[in-house]
């Protein structure tokens, strides 16, 4: 019964959606704003990666909202999983020697790679969200390999709060030096140089710290509980 109703519902949805999708051609430019960003983005923001200039400069306020959504999800996870009573660390079987050594060898390299990704976010493919996810994967590796190690809660909260505060304070400084929130008040420099694009790399580094510590905190909460 439920199955037939669900399949009928999906068929109705599929017919409606395919009728409307047939009107959307594939592979041709559709928005004028995307073309504008590509043509003027490097001149206006100084960042050669147009996706980054859209994320941090043109739609920076939107990104602030998305970072907040991520923050609320991480807080909610902590609130749901934290029991209040401090649980003793369960005795687990230690990882094999290969895994242990491999994790200890790979962890700093993963950290360096993640930092490279978010520091060069305005020049190459990458940015704060991707670099943060890579750093969190490094912490996951540590949890797999060195099972009694735990990340410091205080350091994690500190990195997270500092990242968020840097984002908001730099946005506010735009109000101080100019007219609107998240104004790019620093010199833009020459394109394709590491120190260019004004506030964009600073904000992306802040996002990298924030996302990395939040995802590592999520991993920490889930592993503590299971």
């Amino acid at each position: 019964m439920r199955r037939t109703v669900a399949i009928l519902l999906l068929i109705i949805l599929a017919v409606g959606i395919s009728l409307s999708l047939a009107k959307i051609p594939f592979g041709v430019p559709k928005t004028k704003v995307g073309r504008y960003y590509i043509n003027e983005g490097v001149k206006e923001t100084g960042a050669t990666n147009i996706v980054t200039s859209v994320m941090v400069s043109y739609r920076g306020f939107d990104t602030l909202g998305e970072v907040t959504v991520l923050f609320v999800a991480a807080i909610g996870l902590g609130a749901v999983l934290t029991t209040g009573t401090t649980r003793e660390i369960k005795k687990t079987e230690p990882a094999s020697l290969v895994l242990y050594t491999g994790c200890r060898l790979l962890f700093p390299l993963i950290l360096v790679f993640g930092s490279y990704i978010f520091i060069h976010g305005h020049l190459t493919p990458g940015g704060g969200f991707q670099g943060g996810a890579i750093i969190a994967s490094g912490f996951l590796l540590i949890y797999l390999g060195c099972r009694e190690r735990r990340i410091s809660r205080i350091a994690s909260i500190l990195a997270e709060s500092l990242g968020g505060l840097t984002f908001v304070v730099i946005g506010m400084l735009g109000l101080v030096f100019g007219s609107y929130f998240l104004l790019n008040f620093l010199p833009k420099g020459t394109a394709n140089a590491l120190f260019s694009a004004g506030i964009i790399p600073i904000i992306y580094i802040a996002i990298g710290f924030k996302v990395g510590s939040e995802l590592a905190g999520i991993i920490d909460n889930l592993i503590e509980e299971s």
């Binding site: 995307g34 050669t48 991520l70 999800a73 394109a191």
Partner: protein, 119 residues
């Protein structure tokens, strides 16, 4: 074949979305419902990216001076999907944490056996 060539990405992404919706509607195990949510998320991301695609498109990055910007794909959906992926991970983790709590409270993940959830 030209029909397939021009619409295969839409068909694939909505195929993923419908698989996810079907799993969410039919399955009784909460973990399977959450997996369906993840599949749906992937389908939506794929659809947004394929809407912004341009034939023979390249990434919108001026990695060297004088690069041709004629075939660069639309950067706006890419910027949206970039954050949507990370938020999708966080939402999945939140859903899993709720599933852990439900299991500790009811001793089962079957949505039919959880009393308040009967439908």
């Amino acid at each position: 074949m030209s029909f397939l060539n021009s619409y295969i990405y839409y068909i694939g992404s909505f195929g993923l979305i419908f698989i996810g919706l079907y799993v969410i509607l039919i399955k009784h195990n909460l973990i399977k419902v959450i997996v369906g949510l993840g599949i749906l998320d992937t389908g939506v991301n794929l659809f947004l990216i394929s809407v912004g695609y341009i034939t023979k498109g390249t990434a919108p990055i001026f990695s060297r001076p004088g690069i041709d910007s004629e075939y660069m794909v639309d950067p706006v959906p890419q910027a949206l999907v970039l954050t949507a992926i990370v938020i999708g991970v966080a939402v999945l983790a939140l859903a899993l944490s709720l599933a852990i709590r439900l299991y500790q409270h009811y001793g089962t993940l079957n949505l039919r056996k959880i009393r308040e959830q009967r439908w």
